[in-house]
Amino acid sequence: MKSISLVVIGNSHLQDLEEAYINCDKNKLYSVHTSNFVRLYENRYNPMVSIVDGNTLFNQELERDILDLIEKVKSDALITSILGSEHLIWSVQGQERPFDVILPFAPELPRIPDTELIPFGALYSLVKEGIGPYLRFNKRLSDITSLPVFQLLPPLPVGSQDIILETAPETLKSMLLENGVPSPIIRYKMWRLWIHVAEEIAAELGVSIIPMPEEAKDENGLLKRQYARDSVHANASLGLLTWREINAFFS
């Protein structure tokens, strides 16, 4: 079987993939692909996106580096893991006035008692304006590289409440201590909204989404504790499961 060359581009959620890639049993994984990584959180790629006179512009150095790498490794396809933590941040920021939202695409999710209802349309606009310009980088990539682009979505929110406070950096910890840890249900709803907007944009741009590993879900549909690195990131164990999905996608 021909081994596929991938360039994997991502923000902080790249960590679990990169760690799993470096540390895994290469015989099991590398028969399908080889991967090289572009870390969007590196300082020289900041800002990744600029809006100038209403036009979205992407970091030129980033584009050059990606094109150079693609040429060097003769890449067959690109995998992206862009952004992915905003749903937790919004959940935490929103705790100063505990809130709820009714998701039209997930009406079965329960209402959260003693919370303020935010109109779905308003939160949808917040998410779309927040992540949309960045996710459109997927289209920019396919335009400048002529390669197929496949998108990974951020991991499920972790079921455990404890890990949120335990692993939070100081800036987040002070907010969590003041207003409390957002409940699993609101963290899940905000994650679902993030995913919904991302899937809409991907469909509009013709970008394929690689499915999430089902076995990482606990009985409540949240991320099992064993796969969580911290409040919002997954660890290399989930990274390994994700590579299996990627391999299955390309097999």
Partner: protein, 357 residues
Amino acid sequence: MASHPYKALPKEAFWRTSVAEPAPSAIDPVGPTKFVLSRTDKVATAGSCFAQHIARHLSQSGFNYLVTEQAHPLLPKPIADKFGYGLFTARYANIYTSRQMIQLLRRAFGLFVPAEDVWTDTDGALIDPFRPQIQPGGFQTQAEFDADREQHFAAIRLAVETLDCLVFTLGLTECWLSRADGAAYPLCPGVSGGSYDDKRHMFYNLNVNDVLADLEAIHDFVTERNPTARFILTVSPVPLAASASGDHVLTATTYSKSVLRAAAGEFARSRANVAYFPSYEIITGSFSQGAYFEPDLRSVTEEGVSHVMRLFLAHYTSMNDEPQTEPPSTTIPERKAMTTRELVAVICEEEALQKFG
């Protein structure tokens, strides 16, 4: 020379000395005020488009502008504005007629449930007939529609029970009613959601007695629940955009504004806790020679609004005499927290940089 009452009148009683001769910006038709508002008095607003100007200036002028249905802090101002937050005390959007106002109060307290209570647009989204433009894209589910309305009504009840003064701007007399139960829509069905059906809907032009009866009902409804509430009535100077009366729109506008002015003045005269404020006169008075209207001859210029609010603050507040302390705020504070992007950078990028940099 024989004596008569006009000899003892102040100069404000005479056109030449108080309208024709002074500079336009110096014109002050307010007259004696019945009461004065302090910086701590909770001031609620409701009414037509012009009332939005009043709300905005009250908020910016250090008044304790009462907002009981605030945008959640997560929502940036442009999104909050699009969803009608902060335009008025609660998210009821424009209330054009006195009929709409008393019905809103009754609905909020569970005393009136209109027969035609929800519209469905072609995309399946739900529209509130009494706030047809409040939710861009409509409400996506019945559950959201119902929950939002419950939250909205709770905010109105809180406003009624806690306000110290309600500033109500009367806009129109022409309205569209449900034939089933007289429910008054802010817009003709079909204009922004819903569909017009002559069997279900009818045109009605409120007359002076109608508006007087509505004002009395509004006053009594609020004071029954909030005995110390005061009211300031004002008439919007904005002409009708269109008239369904059969009259020329200019003639229809004069009728509407005359009815509203007469009713507001008459009602204010009859109640110690109700004052009339002459926004209409300030904007439309001949002294400004139309300068307070934009070229479309409908929109009021910021200069005109400033003249109105300058006189409002001068006559109805004691702010200049009180110590300069921060008024209690029921408005949304400026967000000082880190932006989402900054927080993501902190919890994600910086940590990842440390690991792989």
